[in-house]
């Protein structure tokens, strides 16, 4: 990052300014080094390779890779929704509870022997209604997203418990195999006569769904007016309003989209496990927020990427899995996730437009060496 010498010289003369200002435009490489997602990707790669070498027969197997990608995919999907909310400067604490409600509503319809698409549709509708209610109070009434989604967190969980009669639902009627097939689908498959090399993991429907979400969100963030407006709202909501950006509508949609991602994640997990419990998603919001922030989203709004959301979720899962393999009590997970969220916010604290990591690296490694 070049210094800022231009201010004073603008006053004086023309030729000098261009000389000084010349190197201010960021190159692609500069942007890469300044991005937190890039450093998290490197950390993820190092951690994965290190663990795979250390425990080749447990951690390093292709089955474990398939497992980990399935485990973190629902978090990755929700982290993409959370990223949208966080870019606008909000937060969504209700996604874990929405997962529980969606699973119970879909599970009830399956128990009543409705076809799977009716059940999934009903679950999705319940989730979207929750998102729309939160979105309405945040965007149109102007309440704080923290308060509104905290309320929704309690409401959705409570509804899930009431609707389920505090029972686990698993007698899913005639469409149970289809539901399971959706949740347990894999590709590519290792059949005996397959030409596929065996080091290729059999990736789950969860993973592929996440990839689709990430591609669509990444495209929308970078190439559509909607994406542009999202970042503008997070950067300066008042300015966005004054320039004619439909601020309220976009903020409303952010919460609906976040609830949508939670609903999809819930239905995938429902399909995978073949059962619905009202406790599904409990404390997941914390992991999702941690993943999003680790991936470089700024809780103050105005920054975040789809790629970062996915990579952040992957990093958390690899750490969780590594702890498990190292024989550490799984009850420690919360402490690690909590510590990570604090660390990530610390690292992401903006110092003059760059992340703390980038700033630190710059100090250690002056510009001319890159």
């Amino acid at each position: 990052m070049p210094p800022e010498p231009a201010k004073a010289s603008i006053e004086t003369d023309h030729a000098a300014i261009t000389d000084v200002v010349e190197n201010r435009e960021q190159t692609l490489l500069d942007k890469l080094f300044a991005s937190q997602a890039f450093w998290v990707t490197i950390a993820l790669a190092i951690l994965y390779v290190g663990m795979a070498l250390y425990e080749p027969n447990a951690f390093g197997t292709v089955e474990n890779l398939a497992n980990m990608t399935r485990n973190f995919a629902p978090f990755g999907i929700m982290a993409i929704g959370m990223t949208v909310v966080i870019i606008t400067g909000g937060i969504d604490l209700s996604i874990g509870s929405i997962m529980g409600l969606v699973a119970i509503v879909a599970g009830l319809f399956l128990t009543w022997e409705y076809p799977w698409y009716i059940a999934f549709g009903a679950g999705l509708a319940a989730g979207l209604i929750c998102g729309a209610v939160s979105g309405f109070f945040v965007a149109y009434v102007g309440m704080s997203s923290f308060v509104v989604t905290l309320g929704m967190m309690a409401i959705a969980r409570s509804l899930a418990i009431v609707f389920s009669g505090n029972q686990m639902l698993y007698k899913f009627g005639p469409d149970a195999p289809i539901v399971k097939a959706i949740g347990q689908w894999r590709w590519p498959l290792h059949t005996p006569d397959s030409w596929l090399p065996h080091w290729l993991p059999q990736l789950s429907s969860h993973f592929w769904t996440m990839i689709i979400f990430a591609l669509v969100a990444g495209f929308a963030f970078n190439f559509t007016a909607w994406g542009r407006h999202l970042f503008a709202i997070g950067g300066n909501e008042q300015a966005a309003r004054l320039t004619g950006v439909p601020v309220d509508r976009i903020k409303f949609f952010a919460y609906v989209f976040s609830a949508f991602t939670a609903s999809i994640a819930s239905l995938l997990i429902l399909g995978y496990s073949g059962s619905a419990i009202n406790a599904l998603g409990q404390s997941y919001e914390l992991r999702v927020i941690a993943a999003t922030v680790i991936g470089g989203a700024n809780l103050m709004g105005g920054a975040g990427t789809a790629f970062g959301a996915v990579v952040g979720s992957a990093l958390l899962e690899v750490i969780r899995n590594a702890l498990l393999m190292a024989g550490i009590d799984s009850n420690w997970q919360g402490a690690f996730v909590g510590a990570f969220i604090i660390l990530a916010v610390l690292l992401g604290m903006q110092s003059g437009g760059k992340s703390l990591i980038a700033a630190t690296i710059e100090r250690i490694l002056p510009r001319k060496h890159r």
Binding site: I17, R228, Q238
Partner: protein, 246 residues
């Protein structure tokens, strides 16, 4: 017919009366300076005309038609462009992204209707050149000087064929050379028949371009005089209250 007619407009913010019974009219192609002390109500006047909020009393007519703007885009639809005092810029976006904020150029067909970034960058570059500003379209506004940020805000008003341009202290943070460019731009707008309302604390700038000067004091209009019939001394007196009204 007047382009803009302000009729007995008042604005209250709770107990604060920011404007009280102000009336004036702006003709096409006229440059009017709006002056007044800090807190006199100048920015409030701009925001009323620009549709940020409705007046508490009175009405605003554009081209003879009474308008009730609820949003800034509605005023923009009537050909009113604004340079806000705080510039209304998002720091995390680039100069070009800010210039086109809210009216991005798009290409392709839905659902692949995407931003035409290249077109926006080129158009912004041309606008900055016209303003003789060393502002580069791809740079983040966060890293820009005050003058460059101001250029971004001014460039916005050039995107459409505006009938009325309101400038709330457009020369507050810029160099002597750029002030000259902004004043030149105002003259050019005038020659194209565009009406300009210039708010500035810099007496020489206002006298250099204005046909008429309106002075607000504590929310009330205390003077509305042709520039040729007044002097910086008189205006100063009106602003400070040393002279009651003229």
């Amino acid at each position: 017919m007047a382009l803009l007619d302000i009729r007995n407009v008042s604005k209250n913010f709770g107990a604060i009366r920011a404007l009280s019974e102000v009336s004036f009219a702006l003709e096409p192609g006229e440059v009017v300076g709006l002056m007044g002390d800090n807190g006199a109500g100048k920015s409030t006047m701009v925001k009323l005309i620009a549709g940020n909020f409705p007046p508490s009393e009175g009405e605003i007519a554009v081209g003879g038609e009474v308008c009730h703007f609820h949003k800034p885009i509605e005023a923009r639809g009537k050909g009113i462009e604004v340079v806000y005092q705080d510039l209304a810029i998002a720091d995390n976006l680039t100069a070009a992204e800010n210039v086109f904020l809210g009216r991005e150029i798009k290409k392709g067909v839905w659902p692949f209707r995407v931003l035409d970034k290249q077109a926006m960058i080129e158009r912004s570059a041309a606008l900055f050149q016209e303003l003789k500003s060393e502002t580069r379209p791809r740079d983040l506004v966060k890293k820009m000087s005050g003058g460059q940020r101001q250029a971004v805000a001014i460039a916005r008003t050039r995107l459409s064929q505006a009938k009325l341009v309101l400038m709330d202290e457009p020369t507050a943070a810029i160099s002597v050379r750029q002030v000259a460019e902004v004043l030149e731009l105002i003259r050019r707008l005038k020659s194209q028949g565009v009406t300009v309302m210039l708010i500035s604390h810099r007496m020489p700038d206002v006298f250099a371009v204005s046909d008429r000067i309106i002075v607000l004091r504590r929310g009330a209009k205390v003077a509305d005089k042709h520039t040729s019939e007044t002097s910086p001394e008189e205006i100063t007196g009106l602003i400070t209250g040393a002279i009651r009204a003229a």
